[in-house]
Amino acid sequence: MTQTSQTFLGMPAASPEEQPHTGGWRTNVEVPQDTLRWGHTFPEGAHKTLANTQMRRNLGHATRTIRNKRQLRVDEMPDWEDLREAAEAVKFEVASRLPELLEQFEANVTAHGGIVHWARDAAEANRIVADIIKSKGIDDVVKVKSMATQETNLNEYLADEGITAHETDLAEMIVQLADDMPSHIVVPAIHRNRSEVRGIFLDRMGDAPEDLSDKPEELAGAARAHLRRKFLHASVAISGTNMGIAETGTVSIFESEGNGRMCLTLPDTLITLMGIEKLVPRYQDAEIFAQLLPRSATGERMNPYTSMWTGVTPGDGPQEFHLILMDNGRTKVLTDPIGRQALACIRCGSCMNICPVYQHTGGHAYGSVYPGPIGSILTPQLTQGLADDDPVHTLPFASSLCGACAEVCPVKIDIPTILIHLRARSVDVKRRLVPDMWDVAMNAATPVMSNGKAWLAATEGVKATRLIGRDGRIGALPFPASLWTRSRDLPVAPKESLRQWWKRTHPEGITPARSGLGAAQSTATKENR
């Protein structure tokens, strides 16, 4: 479906009489055909979003809040690093044994009365969902927030088929009502503030009380009232899943609002769309992810509700359960020895909350439903969009390589190394891309770089040894040095960074002059224009 009602800042599409309460909420993105690549390059997207100061204010406030909460809850855990290590090992096992685990999972879901479908790509997945809904003779379904269905653009597809899918997660509902696109994988409406949400509800919800204030409690209350009827009457629900367990055929949803439980429990039919990588081998492995996910995603000790179900339970919950196992590019990601780590992602959003580039540009700039650091490595691999004419090939450059994302990732995905690896793959187009990308990334990273301690912590993530080839020489440095190393090899860097050396040899605590570092940085930028 092509969405043409789009409005750019300051250019409302509808007359003020029709929508009197805009509250400044108008969207400036189009709902694209392909949600994995919206057609613009990162610099184009970033220029648009950087101009939106309200959005950046909203984003700055929200990411700060969530980062602080996460840190608090991670610090409570004496075994956080051990959990990360276990998670990484589990996900490596899943990638290594994917075919047999999928077959075991399918067999267990089927043995408990579930119906398993397989989908090679988004189009096939959408078709299966639509066919099931049509076979029930209905045109109205409820939905739990799900990245898999975002990826397939399911709502748009169903709309074209005459089926309305109601998003029931509050943030996802805000995005849906505003004809907007999500800008974060955990809190999709993170770019909206309360007065914008109020405006969206008054303009678009239909049954919002006229005297609705912008208090979050009142807004959530209005959403509750709006959705209650839908939950109680829905006969089909659609969800994604946070984790499937091969050993038992169990599927799970981690959520907060209870909208998930409503959808998973009350309708007669449940359709779950699952990326084939979202498996763990054993029931016991749930204990690892149930600890890592909530603390990383929302900074809570445990999310308010977690549901686990296996096939169908007679007399309790949906009596018909369809599970769709979707590839949609995941096996392409799996072919790359380095890049395949991206399949370990549990979609917690930590990497975007900590990323200085994301905080400046917002999620829409990435032109994909997967924004931020994980989006920069996952999207180009899913689409294999590494060719010159594909907008997503710029994404691996949308980073300053500060390394903070790798530090916070609960499954220890080495995002900086994968970024460097993917940059090397799109080397031919580098010359043209890089100055623009560098501008955006470096400007965004300035607050980190101008703070010696933060920079030291951040660069920990990108150890020089990662770049060293088998022959002990550096083949390809990350940008901007890559412009130089592309044509010649560099001898291996010393084992210590300047700062580490300085710290070791100057125990009295004097640090190298910050101005020196800053000057070197700006020279590098200029030279590469």
């Binding site: 909460k69 959530a220 609002e257 000790r301 977690t306 549901s307 007399g315 799996l334 395949r340």
Partner: protein
Amino acid sequence: MDAKTAILARAREAISRSQQGRPVRDIPRNYLRVGTDAPGSQPVVADMVEKLEDYSAKVVRAPKDAAILDGIDELLGDARSVVVPAGLPQAYKEAAARRGRTVREDSRQEPIPTLELDQIDAVVTCSRVGISMSGTICLDGEPDQGRRAITLVPDKHVVVLEREMIMPTVPQAVDVLGQNPTRPTTWIAGGSATSDIELVRVNGVHGPRNLGVVIAH
């Protein structure tokens, strides 16, 4: 070729290229599996209460049978109608019926229709296991806990948690649940909440807005 065959073939081919001889190792489970204090011991219970109250749940500690019944009554408060799973202990059902409350039984065999559940104020159930570290209570749909719908639709949930079933760690609780992994399982940590508007936590969205916990025996 059907989709399944195609996807599995792609996956095998992909792994043959990317694995590069790297072995799958045993999972290093060096994380905390078992807490230092015993399940249900005094520090574990104290921790559980603290975490629950942090989620704004109301907690009653009831070492004696009579106190459990009083606790159920107290936490139900001004609720006028209550649904209970058919397998709830008889004495608990009677406690729910105090102060003239109407009590309806629900079971997989005779489920109360959803729209009627929506008219009921509260629900009382037992639970399988608790986790003190995160203040989580797990239900697994057995007859004393009932269908998932009854703990979802009414606004107030009063849950009885056996003291010795409060585990200090998530892994210890998963060990218990893992004995019957295919039961429909719901983990509850406080009442329904959202943080979607400016990351401000708002309690009570779609699920039960009030959680009361009786820690029994």
